[in-house]
Symmetry: C2
Subunit: 556 residues, 2 copies
């Protein structure tokens, strides 16, 4: 996919990898003989590649960084991005952690261990008991090199599983405090040679057997938390040297704390969705970054996107059919699905054979398409359901719970039309600070429209409108005196500069329908539903016409 | 670009073309030796290609169709799409025209000619005098093979220019009645082997020296006319045999009549924008069509897109810089610009060296980006300016011209915020049928929000809301009696089911600001502008606070 982006920009690429690698096959400016066949861990081959190139970069971090150092020292190549030192630090996950701690990036507590006794001691130090994670410092990838230890009795087996540890001349190990996360988030960050930085929207990743299963973009969480994740990711990436794109994986805890999990110094699975869903893909921005061109727009050009990995279930034709071709075939009939098959030479269990990206005008639409594809092989679990649950786009607020009976009609309409919403109490006069906070953060949190109901002095809709740029719909609620006219005047008669979209007294049905009409400017499906709603209303009245005609006005 | 789409779907492609063709370079499943180097007009090479393939297709119509026929007759290949007969009919533009006339597709009057006398006779028959177009029946492409004849004295030279005509053993010729078109439109249509048909949005193409210069998607015209163009294109394509994607070029006359110009039986320059701007690209849908897979969603996933062709200005490095690399470099700094450089071996005057596609949240944004790129080499003419002029997204209507003074504030705000709008008179009581037509067609024409002002009985906003699914903003206008309260009640107190977003009496400023807030759910730039507007209002009041403090309330 990186070579594809390079072809479009007429950037000549040479690949060092095993013979059957898909990248060299699509390289637009070289015959297959120009590419170098072999291991990217072989310093001789790295030198050979370096001699033919101006700039070297990596698509996998498990390269021989000494070979990269040598290529620079011997002036075989002008630049290497990211720098070999950065790749080296990131290769060793414990060194990566120490680096991040030094730069004040929030990470899980960890401890260097070389024996069972060390592990037991670390668990005591962490102070929260088991479980803990035992991890191999290097070559850990897609769950390989990680073991959960649930009790002291599992320590020995875990060490054996990871190759015996330093005591048995196995890989170096560390333990990590267990993070009881609620979701896994990821952000791609690109930094150019000149130091310009852009980050992509924060996504949620759902793992299955430690391998990325789906990516939901943007993550269906509070938008302020998404922005916080972007800042953590940017800070983490800029703490390292060198240019390129970096994938930053994070944990979100129940209290909205963000803990950085790990960094990949390259294009990343959690950024595949950017090809179809963002103005500039992660691959193009990686090239722009390492060649010091202006970075492209990382923002999404669609409202919602979901990426589904196609992981092989085994090596038979039946496996290929059930895990790769079947879901792809299902995706052909899902509007907005783009299928990527990598053309790898063989299928095997857990191998990434391709992916499907859905683009949609709304998250409910993207989620429905995802379910159609996943239902093909029953890959829906609770984490998937949670990640696909759309965050609210309409906020319904009322000054008092006594307004709830009036507002239930609005909630019913939104539910019926499949519009995700939230409903809460925000009082202008009794919780003025809550009102300010609600209104000021509404757009950043992800709301598109606010429905506010109030009676009497009825300040809520107008005050909220004064504090947000979102459209605010006001529902005047009738109190005992004045029949709601007081509320109507107070909501509608706003001064020049701050509009409130006022609907009829007590008519929250119309408020909800207006909110859906407003969303319809982005989501054509909603306009179609409004048209169907109008047709049904028409049919209902025409039915009454018929009844009236048949039984007459006297008996009606 | 077709091979790129094939790679993603793991479809193996072999290419027959000259040695330096870009397509075979990026073919993911074959070494360069597998491809066939030579002319697609050589039946021997066509047979050689056919033997290696299951399905043959074309990316250019100037192939040897006899060679294709032979490949089918000798069972060298299973299928050829589109059929050789369809390609043959389309190759001969006069035969194409006769075919379209037979199928009731609107085309310009034409006449077979083989001498100067024939041409003069045809002009008399057309009955509108000169100019006329003289065209070569075959091998006409990007303006080659066409000559405008402005008077009888130019006939001889035009025949000579086109190779002498049949009298001198040159190519066969025909004349075409001059079409005084206002715009050129194009629609891509895909039809699968099973006969399923999808069409892409109607775009406007701007030609320069008979070569496509820019493509604006969707065309910034009445959406109903766009839909009419789609139907003409679908009817034209389904009149031919065979599967694949077809580019249909049309003329739009001043009275909104559509005349089909010509058809290309292949992916087309006017569909390049689909790669970044539509859910499924023209290339992928061509593959899906000829392999009889379900067709992908042709709709745009962004609000607006512009494609700019990078045409070489000559063969020197300076030419390459000014016409290709310079505009590309400018595009790197335009958010939402994707650059495609084709990697052709040399630049020459008029050669398509690449293209740039802009994607944006609104047409004003896409137009601004386009101007930035085109200003690089001053390629903006009146046709370009016209094509880039955004169609209205807000409709302001009033029951009477006496409401105009009230509504001018709304128009000023929309203009200030850069929101394209239209303003007209629609009276519920005096032009009821016009009102029905206006409201019923508003969404299809392209409007996103309607602002309706009315006084007294004030039926306009509510009646319009009953006839459209768009959000309708009502501005109550105060008449002499009742101070506008009558208008407010009439507009706001709509029955359950049909909402009107009512703003304060006479406050069209708020109506416009509400419309912009509504558009802000699609166009984040508008929300930012609303925030700036609020900040300016705040600063204005704070300025008064300071003045009041410094000069005191007595002198204020």
């Amino acid at each position: 996919m990186l070579v594809e982006a390079a072809n479009r920009l007429n950037i000549k690429t040479l690949v060092l990898d095993s013979a059957a690698n898909p990248a060299s096959q699509v390289s637009g400016h070289h015959t297959k003989d120009d590419h170098i066949i072999g291991s990217f861990q072989d310093p001789v081959l790295i030198a050979e590649l370096a001699k033919k190139c101006n700039v070297l970069t990596v698509e996998i971090e498990h390269v021989d960084t000494k070979g990269l150092d040598a290529a620079l020292e011997q002036n075989l190549v002008d630049q290497i991005h990211p720098t070999p030192q950065t790749i080296r630090t990131i290769q060793d996950k414990y060194a990566q952690k120490l680096h991040l701690i030094k730069h004040n990036i929030p990470v899980a507590d960890s401890k260097d261990v070389s024996s069972a006794a060390d592990i037991d001691r670390a668990v005591s130090e962490f102070g929260v008991g088991y479980p803990v994670m035992l991890k191999s410092k290097t070559l850990a990838y897609d769950g390989r090199g990680n073991r959960v230890i649930k009790s002291a009795s599992e320590i020995a087996q875990a060490i054996t599983d990871l190759g015996g540890g330093p005591e048995n001349k196995g890989p170096e190990l560390y333990v990590e405090k267990w993070i009881p996360f609620s979701r896994e988030l990821a952000v791609m960050v690109a930094r150019s040679v000149s130091g310009n930085v852009v980050s992509y929207p924060c996504v949620e990743t759902v793992q299955k057997d430690n391998v990325c299963h789906i990516v939901v973009a943007p993550a269906q969480i509070d938008g302020l938390v998404r922005e916080k994740a972007r800042r953590v990711a940017e800070n983490a990436v800029t703490s390292f040297d060198g240019a390129g794109i970096f994938g930053v994986e994070m944990f979100l805890l129940l209290d909205d704390t963000i803990i950085l999990n790990e960094i990949a110094p390259r294009p990343h699975n959690s950024g595949h969705y950017t090809i179809e869903a963002c103005h500039t893909s992660q691959y193009e921005n990686h090239l722009r970054a390492i060649l010091d061109m202006p970075l492209g727009n990382p923002e999404m050009k669609v409202a919602a996107s979901v990426m589904i990995n196609l992981l092989g279930s085994g090596s038979t034709l039946e496996d290929m059919e059930s895990s790769v071709l079947g879901p792809s075939r299902a995706a052909f009939s899902v509007p907005g699905a783009s299928i990527h098959l990598y053309g790898k030479e063989s299928c095997r269990k857990g191998r990434k054979m391709g992916h499907i990206t859905l683009t949609a005008n709304s998250m409910p639409e993207a989620a429905a398409g995802t379910r159609t594809i996943l239902e093909y092989n029953g890959l829906i679990d609770t984490a998937t359901v949670s990640a696909l649950t759309p965050a609210p786009v309409v906020g319904i607020i009322m000054g008092s719970d006594s307004d709830l009976p009036t507002l239930k009609a609005a909630a019913n309409i939104l539910q019926e039309f499949g519009v995700p919403f939230e409903l809460t109490i925000v009082s202008a006069h009794r919780t003025p600070k809550r009102m300010v906070q609600y209104a000021e953060t509404a757009a950043a949190r992800g709301l598109k429209v606010i429905i506010a109901a109030a009676g009497g002095a009825a300040h809520l809709p107008g005050m909220v409108a004064a504090l947000t740029a979102l459209p605010v719909i006001g529902v005047p609620v009738a109190l005992k005196q004045l029949d709601g006219v007081d509320s109507l005047y107070s909501i509608c008669q706003m001064p020049r500069g701050v509009p409130v979209a006022t609907v009829a007294i007590n008519n929250s049905t119309n408020a909800a329908l207006l909110a859906i009409r407003i969303l319809g400017s982005t989501v054509p499906q909603y306009l179609e539903k409004i048209e169907i709603y109008a047709k049904n209303s028409e049919a209902e009245v025409l039915g009454k016409v018929k009844t009236l005609e048949s039984i007459g006005w006297k008996d009606y």
